[in-house]
Symmetry: C2
């Protein structure tokens, strides 16, 4: 937790907040917070600053909160990612949120096990938890948005052309014709496949809509590390 | 397991191997290997090619092995990384091995909990296991080397100047003066700190030896994702 994130329910009066539970435990046991000490703090979807601890009683921390700096700018990317095994999916959400992705579109693909869609990981409170962990890690406050699309073909044929217009569009694929570009500072769509990769049909659909297949070299990476490498490289 | 890795003990005659245990289970349950089928195969520290399954009996797979392609070229990097929490350390080793790192130097730093050095993760068989998982993932055969240095100052003052000579030397640091470079194709030293980062003293020691502090933007990433982003970006 590099940034303590507060929501409006944490405020007990203007400029004064109190926390308990996971965040307070972390502050006390890992950050060794003590009265008079400060904690780097952000307000969800708001500014970043500092809290000064005024009281610690029975594991509950009361703080004066002063947040006046804006959060870091978002990455100019919409991430289209295949649904993943729940464990991998959580890592993907955390990694993306920590790196500044603000828009996720999670799609069905041929090589995605259909049972993954029934996982509790897709429940709003679980998504929010993964995003919070990512934001706390990456020192950001702005909660990402996530949408799901269960039918690939209507998404690819009816919706994708509209999203792609005016954007750089890249689909990560081991056989991608060009090496992943770098130094991009424009709005980008990045598509990342499931563990077994997109099928040729799926890559073909992305290409029809103007996506360029890109590779990360001769090696195959785990999805979450591939995402980190792609985002680290592109932007 | 994108590549089945064989060692010399797996060969029952020239060109013929038999496996059981974890690799056979994976081949049967995930890859759905059947007699006559093929498995992408590599020989540890040797070539890559294909195995054709000739027999499956009681979970033991016998194969004809034909490996004539060289493994992918290594990344031209020596990774100097702080010792980490064992769980993070495993991910770091797997990620590095999957991405083509062949030389790890694991160092003591101020913010490294000393107890980590007693972890079984540093035992040769555990290191080998993490590297094998990484190579299987990344489709590579060449086993990385790993050395440890328990005393930072002698390492930095006596050893580092010799290693640095003739190489690009980069130390990842949130306050690093320049953005992480890209498109590098020369021998590089990359230093990655512990979860809490290098101390100013430690960064200073790297800088004295000719390292350039580099950053990955305003966000703080988990060590394993930072490594993926750094390697993806630099090379």
């Amino acid at each position: 937790m590099n940034l303590l994130l507060l929501n409006e329910n944490d405020f007990i009066s203007p400029g004064q907040a109190a926390i308990d539970g996971r965040r307070a435990e972390h502050a006390l046991s890992i950050l060794k917070t003590a009265p008079g000490g400060t904690i780097r703090t952000g307000i969800i979807d708001g500014n970043i600053g500092t809290s000064t601890v005024t009281d610690i009683t029975a594991g509950r921390i009361t703080m004066e909160v002063s947040c006046h700096e804006p959060p870091p700018p978002p990455l100019p990317v919409t991430l289209i990612c295949a649904m993943q095994r729940p464990k991998t999916f959580k890592k993907l959400l955390q990694c993306g949120a920590a790196m500044g992705v603000k828009k996720f579109i999670v799609i069905e693909c041929w090589k995605v096990d259909k049972s993954y869609w029934d996982s509790p990981v897709l429940k709003p409170e679980s998504l929010r938890e993964q995003f919070l962990l990512g934001l706390e890690q990456g020192c950001d406050t702005v909660m990402p948005e996530l949408e799901t699309r269960r039918r690939f073909r209507p998404f690819a044929e009816d919706e994708l052309p509209g999203i792609t217009a005016g954007r750089l569009a890249l689909v990560a694929h081991p056989n991608g014709e060009i090496r992943c570009p770098t130094g991009i500072d424009r709005e980008t769509l990045l598509a990342v496949g499931p563990e077994g990769g997109f099928t040729d049909y799926e890559v073909g659909k992305f290409v029809e809509t103007g996506f360029t297949p890109i590779n990360l070299g001769p090696r195959i990476m785990r999805t979450e590390f591939a995402l980190a490498a792609l985002l680290g490289r592109i932007f």
